[in-house]
Symmetry: C2
Subunit: 245 residues, 2 copies
């Protein structure tokens, strides 16, 4: 019974941290909120793996996971960004940019739940990665221009609903014998996060940003590929016309 519920407990933990992150932003602690989102990412990475290791996957667990993700990695990071940066913008613009991020996240999650996936890949940037980049990016708000932060939010929103293939690391599982260590890992992460808040958030930022940019590069490559093909066609066509004459 406990084994069957364990993955859902991780998911509920993820959701709980998402709510606490929103409350922390309200209480003027955006750094603490970013840490909550990062710990929620760890829990989100564990729930599916624990479920697979214990053979406790369920349709219910999958639905609960999406509902938690849209809060912890959609609403919470967008709200962090709103408070630390977008309040400087015009109110309507700030509302729209803040809302677009969780809206694209929800569209991404809804698509993920109904479209059959490609093994080994995610279609579009997964919302935990997008949310992770957004909330850690918010920590650099003093060094970055608000417009850059707003454009980054829109770019991450676009990458979520794009059709870019992102590698998924779901296959890196947890051996069944190691399942009972996972709560210890979570507690250690929480302690570490509270002890070294800034360092941890910034350490997480780099790999997540590289992962998100990977998709951007792929998209740019695709645009160049089409442009090259179009130019090649344009060069070939006059030639064929000349030949025809």
């Amino acid at each position: 019974m406990i084994a069957k519920s364990l993955p859902n407990l991780f998911t509920i933990g993820n959701l709980f941290l998402g709510i606490i992150a929103i409350i922390s932003v309200f209480n003027n602690k955006p750094e603490l909120a970013a840490i909550m989102v990062i710990v929620a990412m760890l829990l989100d990475g564990l729930d599916g793996r624990v479920a697979r290791a214990l053979n406790a996957q369920s349709e219910f667990g999958k639905e609960l996971d999406s509902l938690s993700d849209v809060i912890s990695f959609g609403v919470a990071p967008a709200f962090i960004m709103y408070v630390v940066a977008f309040t400087e913008l015009n109110a309507a613009a700030a509302w729209i940019v803040t809302a677009i991020f969780p809206i694209c996240g929800a569209l991404r999650l809804a698509r993920f739940n109904v479209v059959a996936g490609t093994p080994g890949y995610f279609i579009g940037l997964p919302i935990p990665a997008a949310g992770g980049v957004l909330c850690t990016l918010a920590l650099f708000h003093q060094e970055l221009n608000t417009i850059v932060l707003a454009l980054s939010t829109l770019l991450l929103s676009y990458l979520m609903i794009s059709t870019v293939k992102y590698p998924n690391f779901k296959k890196i599982g947890i051996p069944k014998a190691a399942i009972w260590i996972t709560p210890v890992v979570v507690i250690a992460a929480v302690v570490l996060a509270i002890q070294f808040p800034g360092t941890l958030s910034k350490m997480i930022f780099v790999p997540l940003l590289l992962y998100a940019l990977y998709g951007l590069k792929k998209n740019v490559d695709r645009v160049f590929f089409f442009l090259r093909r179009k130019r090649k066609k344009a060069v070939d066509e006059p030639e064929s016309k000349t030949t025809a004459i």
Copy 2:
């Protein structure tokens, strides 16, 4: 194409209002936030009906609907209540009561998406009704004790995950010819909500509260039924023992 997308546009509108409600709470406008949640309820009531009238139901739309509901009727009302009332409580208690509401909402939505329903009934209080009661109840925070508000939040959370049958009014559909009037209805509701904010919120509160209490009454009836049966058994048993002697 537009006809097929119309229900999802209503759902996205619902989600957008949920985010704006959270932002409004942050900007110290909980009354405005409650109105956003009420208008979101209207959009939520329309999306499914419009989809059925246009024969545009989809698995994608259903998933998107749940993801929007957990934000607009789970996170936003809980956050309104946190800000207007629970900040007076001990921090840990406030966090827990605030988080329990959207957690129960997510459990309710996940169950709804995977368990086959009973025609004409919902199992457990639907999250839009629970969220509607919570955010309008928050408007009475000056007249009510914080403990009463916290207990009401816990009670509404419980009613969502309970197995009480609530009547559903899905059958009250919209004739196809009237679909194009729905955006006008939404705009009229928004204008009305902005013109008479307090009155509208309090008007919505009464029928929603009665709907929620209906389930509570059914639960109390059930407890009394079991108690009566137990007492009857207890009275019967000594008699049968006497007979046996």
